[in-house]
C-alpha cells in the first residue's frame, strides 16, 4: 500500500502553494458547512487581498464561519463574486444588498447543475484522512461537494483528522486529488436549542403519526429534537435524511433506530450532510452504518419514495389560507433557501405508507404575528405549492390537506392557527371567497 502514501507525500503542500495557480476568472466550489476548508479559504482571500486574484466566482450552500471570515469579507467583493444556493447568517445581509447573488434551486439538482450546467475550475473541500487503501472520505459533507470534487479541473483537499470517516458513496481516491494541505482544527459544533412548550406539543403530535418500522427524515430546528423525545418507545425506525443531526444519535444508541425494516439500504443510516456536536462527529467516524450519498441521490423524490413508510418532517415560516407555504422568505427578502423541503415532501407522499409533515409554531414574535396568513406579502416566494402540501402541525393540532377543497383547506388551516387570530382569519377567508 506504500504507493498511496508516496503519492500523498508528493501532493502535500502549503495552503499558499496549493492555491497559487488558481487563475483570474476561475469558478470555485467550496465544500459545504463543515467541509469549508479554513486554511485554503484564508489562502484564497489573502491572494485576493494582495491584488493577485480577480474576477473569481465562488459558489456554496449555507456558508459557515470559515467562509464568512475569509472570502465573504466585504473588502474582497470587487475581486470575488459570491453565489449562494442557500442563504445563511453568514451571507444574508450580503444577499439583501446585492453583494451576493442567490441561485434558486432544488437541492437534489445542484449536482446536476455542477456537472451539466457549469464549468468548475477548482473545488476546495475538507476531507477525512487518507486510509491504507488510498481513500479519503467526504465526511460530513457529501451533498454537492462529492460531485464538485469529481467534476472540476483542479481538486484541492484540506485533510482534517477531526472529519469523520464515512462510508456510502463518500470515498475519494488519492489519484483523483491534485493537491493536499493538512489542517487539524475542530469541526464546527451546532448545538440544538432546548425545545420550548410549543415544540413539545408539536413533537408529541408528530411522534404519534410515526408508525413502528417507519423511515424518518428530520429537518433542522428545535422541533426535531422535541420529536425525538417522544419516539423513544418506537421500534425499528430507519433514517433516510438530508441532514444527520445529534438527536438521531440518541435514537440509534437507544436501539429505537435500527434500520432493519428499511426497504432501501436496510441497516444503514443514509444522509447527505451532517451538522451537530463533537459527540455526533465521533459517533459517525468509522461507523459502518453511516452512509452518505450525493444529494442528487438522497433527495431525489423517486429515491426517497423507495423507502416505505417514509415520514418527512420539515419546518416552514408561514402558510396561507390556500395551503401553500413559504419556508425561505422573510420581510420580503431571501432568508434561507428551498433546500430539500420540496424534495422530501414529494418523496414522502409517493412512498407507500409515507407522510409529509410541515411543522411550525402558530405565531412568531411573542404571539404578535400569526404564521397562518390570509395571503403572502407581494413578492414572497412559495417553497411548497398547495398541490404538494399534506400534513401541517402546530401546537394547536394536526391537519391533512391532501385531496381537500379550497374551502376545507382554509377551515383546516385556520383550525391550527393561534385562537386569537382565528376570527380575523375567518373574515379574511370569507373576503377571499374561500368559505
Amino acid at each position: 500500500m506504500n504507493g498511496y502514501f508516496e503519492e500523498y507525500r508528493k501532493k502535500l503542500t502549503t495552503p499558499e502553494k496549493a492555491v497559487e495557480d488558481i487563475q483570474d476568472g476561475s469558478t470555485i466550489i467550496l465544500g459545504m458547512v463543515n467541509a469549508e476548508p479554513p486554511a485554503l479559504l484564508a489562502a484564497i482571500a489573502n491572494r485576493a487581498r494582495q491584488g493577485d486574484l480577480k474576477n473569481i466566482n465562488i459558489y456554496f450552500l449555507h456558508p459557515a464561519e470559515h467562509a464568512a471570515m475569509t472570502i465573504l469579507a466585504p473588502d474582497l467583493c470587487d475581486c470575488i463574486q459570491v453565489y449562494s444556493w442557500f442563504v445563511s447568517l453568514a451571507d444574508r445581509a450580503r444577499v439583501r444588498v446585492g453583494l451576493n447573488y442567490f441561485v434558486p434551486n432544488y437541492f437534489h439538482q445542484i449536482p446536476r447543475l455542477l456537472k451539466d450546467f457549469m464549468q468548475i475550475d477548482v473545488t476546495v473541500a475538507t476531507v477525512s484522512p487518507m486510509d491504507k487503501a488510498g481513500y479519503f472520505t467526504f465526511g460530513t459533507a457529501n451533498d454537492y461537494t462529492s460531485t464538485a470534487a469529481r467534476h472540476c479541473r483542479k481538486l484541492i483537499v484540506e485533510v482534517n483528522e477531526h472529519m469523520p470517516r464515512v462510508f456510502g458513496d463518500s470515498i475519494l481516491h488519492i489519484s483523483e486529488v491534485d493537491a493536499i494541505v493538512e489542517n487539524h482544527i475542530p469541526l464546527f459544533e451546532s448545538i440544538p436549542a432546548e425545545p420550548d412548550i410549543e415544540d413539545e406539543n408539536i413533537g408529541k403530535s408528530i411522534a404519534e403519526m410515526v408508525p413502528d418500522g417507519a423511515t424518518i427524515q428530520l429537518g433542522a430546528g428545535n422541533v426535531p429534537s422535541a420529536i425525538t423525545r417522544y419516539l423513544m418507545n418506537h421500534k425499528d425506525l430507519g433514517i433516510h435524511t438530508e441532514l444527520f443531526c445529534p438527536s438521531m444519535v440518541d435514537l440509534i444508541e437507544k436501539g429505537v433506530v435500527t434500520g432493519r425494516r428499511k426497504t432501501l439500504h436496510p441497516r444503514k443510516n443514509v444522509f447527505t450532510f451532517a451538522r451537530g456536536t463533537k459527540r455526533m462527529y465521533e459517533f459517525m467516524d468509522n461507523n459502518p452504518t453511516m452512509e452518505s450519498y450525493p444529494v442528487s441521490y438522497v433527495n431525489d423524490p423517486a429515491v426517497i419514495a423507495q423507502n416505505e413508510n417514509m415520514i418527512s418532517i420539515n419546518s416552514i415560516l408561514e402558510v396561507d389560507l390556500l395551503g401553500q407555504c413559504n419556508a425561505e422568505f422573510m420581510g420580503g427578502y431571501q432568508f434561507s433557501g428551498t433546500g430539500g423541503q420540496l424534495d422530501f415532501v414529494r418523496g414522502a407522499f409517493d412512498s407507500k405508507g409515507g407522510k409529509s409533515i410541515l411543522a411550525f409554531h402558530s405565531t412568531a414574535k411573542n404571539e404578535e404575528l400569526s404564521r397562518v396568513v390570509p395571503r403572502f406579502e407581494a413578492g414572497t416566494v412559495v417553497t411548497t405549492p398547495r398541490m404538494d402540501t399534506q400534513y401541517f402541525v402546530t401546537e394547536h393540532g394536526v391537519v391533512d390537506l391532501k385531496g381537500k377543497s379550497t374551502r376545507e383547506r382554509a377551515l383546516d388551516i385556520i383550525s391550527i392557527a393561534h385562537p386569537k387570530f382565528r376570527d380575523e382569519l375567518m373574515r379574511e377567508a370569507e373576503n377571499m371567497y374561500l368559505l
Partner: protein
C-alpha cells in the same frame, strides 16, 4: 459505546457452552468456505460423537477442511445428515455414495431458500471483530451466510481477528447475536493454479473482448489468472463478481481496476465471497472500496445486467 462492549461480554462463552443450545432435530447452517467456524464445528461434532446430539441436519455450500474434519466425518453420519448446495473435494465422495444429499439450486436463490423455504434453528459462522458501533461483519463471505444469520432462531458467531472487516450489506449487530466465541486462527488460503499454456491462449482471446471501462466477473481457476495478467494495459475496469480473487488485487493496485466507470455501485468493488491469499484478505480489510452483498443480490441476473 460501552453498552455494546457489555452486550458482547454477556454473550461471550466457550464453544462447548455455545453449542449446548443446539437441540436434537435442529437444522443448522454454517458459514460457507472461509467462514466455516472451526471451533464451533468441532464442538458440534464432539457433542454428536458423545451421543448427545441426534437427527441434526447440516447445510453446507462448498464445504472445506473445517467441515470435512468435523461435521462431515463419516462416523457421525448417523447423527448428522449433511446437505450440500455445492459439492467439493470435502463431500464429493459422500454425495456419490448417498451419505450427503445434494440440493439443486441457483446460487442467487439460496438466500431465499433460507428465508422462505427452510426453518433454520441455528447458524454458526465466522465474523470479523466487533467495532465501536457494535457491528461485526460477515467478512470474506456474504453469499447466503448473512441471510441465514438474519433468519434463524439461534446465531452463534466465532470472532476471528484475521477475518477482514468488509462494507456493503455485511453488517451484523451484537443485538442480533445469541452467543459469541473467539478463535483467532489464520484464514484458509486458496491459491489459484498457475495458468497452463492453453489457459494463456484462451485468456488472450478473452482479454481482447474486454473494452476499457468494462465491469468484469472472474471465476476460479487458471484461466481467470491468465486473463488478469493480460488486462494490465486496460483502463478503468470495474468489479462485480461472485468470487473476489487475488488477481483482482493486483489489477486494483496497478490502477487498472478503479470501478469509476461502473453504472451500478460506482467506485465499489462488489463481490459475494472472497477466496485467496492472506495478502488479499489484508487488502480487503477495512477497505472502503470493497463491498459485499448477499448472493440474492450479486448473483441476481437482473442486478448483474
Amino acid at each position: 459505546m460501552n453498552i455494546y462492549a457489555a452486550a458482547y461480554k454477556q454473550r461471550l462463552t466457550t464453544p462447548e457452552k455455545a453449542v449446548e443450545r443446539i437441540k436434537n432435530g435442529d437444522t443448522l447452517v454454517h458459514g460457507a468456505t472461509i467462514s466455516e467456524p472451526p471451533a464451533l464445528l468441532a464442538a458440534v461434532a464432539n457433542r454428536a460423537r458423545e451421543g448427545s446430539l441426534k437427527d441434526i441436519k447440516v447445510y453446507s455450500s462448498l464445504p472445506m477442511e473445517y467441515a470435512a474434519k468435523t461435521v462431515l466425518s463419516p462416523d457421525l453420519s448417523d447423527c448428522i445428515q449433511a446437505y450440500s448446495w455445492f459439492v467439493t473435494a470435502a463431500d464429493r465422495a459422500r454425495v456419490k455414495v448417498g451419505l450427503s444429499y445434494y440440493v439443486p439450486n441457483y446460487i442467487h436463490q439460496i438466500p431465499r431458500l433460507c428465508s422462505d423455504f427452510m426453518d433454520i434453528d441455528v447458524v454458526i459462522t465466522t465474523v470479523s471483530p466487533m467495532d465501536k458501533a457494535g457491528y461485526f461483519t460477515f467478512g470474506a463471505v456474504n453469499d447466503y451466510t448473512s441471510v441465514a444469520a438474519r433468519n434463524c432462531r439461534t446465531l452463534i458467531v466465532e470472532v476471528n481477528e484475521n477475518m477482514p472487516r468488509v462494507f456493503g450489506d455485511s453488517l451484523l449487530h451484537i443485538s442480533e447475536v445469541t452467543a459469541v466465541v473467539e478463535n483467532h486462527v489464520p484464514l484458509l488460503e486458496i491459491i489459484s493454479p498457475e495458468p497452463k499454456p492453453e489457459d494463456e491462449i484462451i485468456a488472450r482471446y478473452i482479454a481482447e473482448m474486454v473494452p476499457d471501462g468494462a465491469t468484469i466477473e472472474l471465476g476460479l481457476g487458471g484461466i481467470p489468472n491468465a486473463i488478469a495478467h493480460l488486462l494490465e494495459g486496460h483502463k478503468d475496469l470495474g468489479v462485480h463478481t461472485g468470487v473476489f480473487v487475488p488477481a483482482m488485487v493486483d489489477l486494483i493496485e496497478k490502477g487498472v481496476i478503479t470501478s469509476r466507470k461502473k453504472t451500478l455501485h460506482p467506485r465499489k468493488h462488489v463481490f459475494m465471497v472472497a477466496q485467496g491469499t492472506r495478502r488479499m484478505y489484508d487488502f480487503i480489510n477495512d477497505n472502503p472500496s470493497m463491498e459485499n452483498y448477499p448472493a440474492s443480490y450479486t448473483e441476481d441476473p437482473s442486478v448483474i445486467a
